[in-house]
Symmetry: C2
Subunit: 452 residues, 2 copies
Amino acid sequence: MNEIEETLKSLHDSIEANESGEVSRLLNQIQSADYPRLVDRLSVDEREKLMGMVSPETAAALLARISETQVVGILDKLNPEKAANIIQELGSDEAADLLGVLKAEGAEAILCEMQPKEASEVRELMAYAEDTAGGLMRFEFLSYPVSSSVGDVIEDLRRNAEIYSDFDVQYAYVVDKSKRIVGVLRMRDLLLSNSETGVSELMIHNPLFVPHSMEQSILASMFKEKQLVGLPVVDENETLLGVVLRSSVREATAEAVAEDFLKVSGLGGKEELRSMPLQLRSRRRLSWLSINILLNVLAASVIAFFQDTLAQVIALAVFLPIISDMSGCSGSQAVAVSIRELTLGLVRPTELLRVFLKEIAVGIVNGIALGMLIALVAFLWKGNPWLGLVVGGALMLNTIVAVCLGGLIPLILKRLDLDPALASGPILTTVTDMCGFFLALSLATILLPYLT
Amino acid sequence: MNEIEETLKSLHDSIEANESGEVSRLLNQIQSADYPRLVDRLSVDEREKLMGMVSPETAAALLARISETQVVGILDKLNPEKAANIIQELGSDEAADLLGVLKAEGAEAILCEMQPKEASEVRELMAYAEDTAGGLMRFEFLSYPVSSSVGDVIEDLRRNAEIYSDFDVQYAYVVDKSKRIVGVLRMRDLLLSNSETGVSELMIHNPLFVPHSMEQSILASMFKEKQLVGLPVVDENETLLGVVLRSSVREATAEAVAEDFLKVSGLGGKEELRSMPLQLRSRRRLSWLSINILLNVLAASVIAFFQDTLAQVIALAVFLPIISDMSGCSGSQAVAVSIRELTLGLVRPTELLRVFLKEIAVGIVNGIALGMLIALVAFLWKGNPWLGLVVGGALMLNTIVAVCLGGLIPLILKRLDLDPALASGPILTTVTDMCGFFLALSLATILLPYLT
């Protein structure tokens, strides 16, 4: 702990004093697990200066270890030439990912400074949708013509050992004259053959490949099923385009889950770091809160409608926030189950009836349990069984409504091509609040003679 | 859609009729991405029967594709011998994971039926903590004595090709006489050497290795930094124990994030599938709801304390649920940022002051904005500026409290070794509700003459 703070202080000083040797030495001294926190504590100017002081390799290694949000913040500030040098050290898929998150002009400026071949690869990758095999694939793979011999392959590996050292070389792909994929070669099988053998004899025929349009979720389930390091990606003519690695798919899936978490928490799926400017953090959070407060006012207007009842049975005011909060909790549980079942492929957006039947059962059981509990509290407090009936009945009915809606809303949003993680919460709480307030206060109005 | 339903119907029938050939044919016909939904729709008895009708390989392939919760449900029902046959088809780390989730007697019964060697490997793995290198490693790796030649290694690969086909064989580890790791051999380097060369010449010296006690989060950051498929795991004497794969660490990390989501949503971090029995689903959800309702009653008791004020200014009852819900939302955003920053290693649990200063700034800005908005609503509705002052002032102050608490609670829970994702929400909403009700109603009591 203290050690890190000291290193951080020395780093501040060395950057200030432009001592690039000392900066590199300090970076090496720190555990890489501490990089994110370190970068977080440097000012924007210091980060920019730091990137200029170390080699592109060191800079790329640093960027590979910190969060995407931090990387984008740094690249935005660097001059395009320096940024291009660093980005060239990354794999084509990572480079395309990072540039895809930058603003269009910024990305273009950096691409113009990159080596033409690498720039055109990255441009090609950026043209595919981010969550498809095309968007996730990389160009660092081995392929050989079907007419090659084992000796040709080994000779090529020997000659280009330096370039290939960045590749995942468990497999090489075998292509025909029109670059269509016809086989897969296991590298370890090369070990066991003599150099005259043709790769066509050694290769696995009818290899597994995927179209560039295949969705990330399906890729994830393919990798889950099969112990593969990568899958070849092809275009409409089965021409080999690239390879999508298990690790890229996993990373993309993990990011999607993390985004869901940020969306459900009211941060719009965007990463907020506390080192970001106050104005940005405040504005982002407010954009969601301001919608929510309007929905809240809408829901509370139901209470205003029943003011006369409330004025006569003031005890009800104590229970309204409880009904609102508890229905929200019950509904959120059902929302979470639906979002998980959608992610895991256990339910289709069209299966509304199935979800409804499953949820209403839980809603009835839990509604009765919670309703009886709160009815007991109300009765013990005021000694009036009718008050217990009103608040208990309202909570029971509203729990059933909330649980059913919570289960159905994510499916409906998915069918409408809206984001369940983002919109389910606010819609659910507004509707259940309105319904809960209405149930409690209209029941109270009907039973008013017994309550006063 | 319809196709799946038809296949499902045929599968029901074939299982009923005990036609194992037809069952296997139907399984092959279905896209593996549909396996989870398929299993979900079979009854518990049908699942058990299905497992008995197909080969252990097919059964293992099916289990590898469905969710852990589903697998455990199936293994719990199978007879131990059948379960052992299936589990032996999996890697030692996956086998240990699954058995670790079963009840102790169930796991023991299955272990007794497994091949002694594999059973003892799995037992060994189960002895390590789940979220450490030891718990995540597997025994399927290659190692050779430092005295071997390239020819020896190739000969061994040739002889055991069948066994090794399940391994990730990009690397082999080189060990000395006391099994201490001394080097790493890249398989592709074997291709480029003649068979007399000793592995000691070819290997990379001072290999990277990790102690079995290393935590999952640190492993995750190591894999993020370096393009490695696996890392060797050693004991206190640097003896090679096993290898931890990048994919195992990624999977474990993704599971941890998914668990956080389920915890924040009030499901206690446990996967709920709608095919589970109603009683279980209802009980699990209620266990969290019943704590929450008690906390809610506690918070609402503040309102009861101010009944006289409320009776005179009934309009306040409309605003209490809004203050409660909005403070909860503002606080949840701060909770999510803290949980993310803890996960990403951007903040330490001890850095309370830093988080407090960062959050109070956002709290003041957003508090003023939201407070002014609700004050305006109150003023427009009742035409009384003092009512606006009371509800706006209360929401402003309570937003600041909620945002600061939301930022700090996860750090404090982490320091106390409690789970931030599980406990932050209920603690936050209870405290902010109490505080919000108190602020609004005590302000109203002070300003009562201007409100009536």
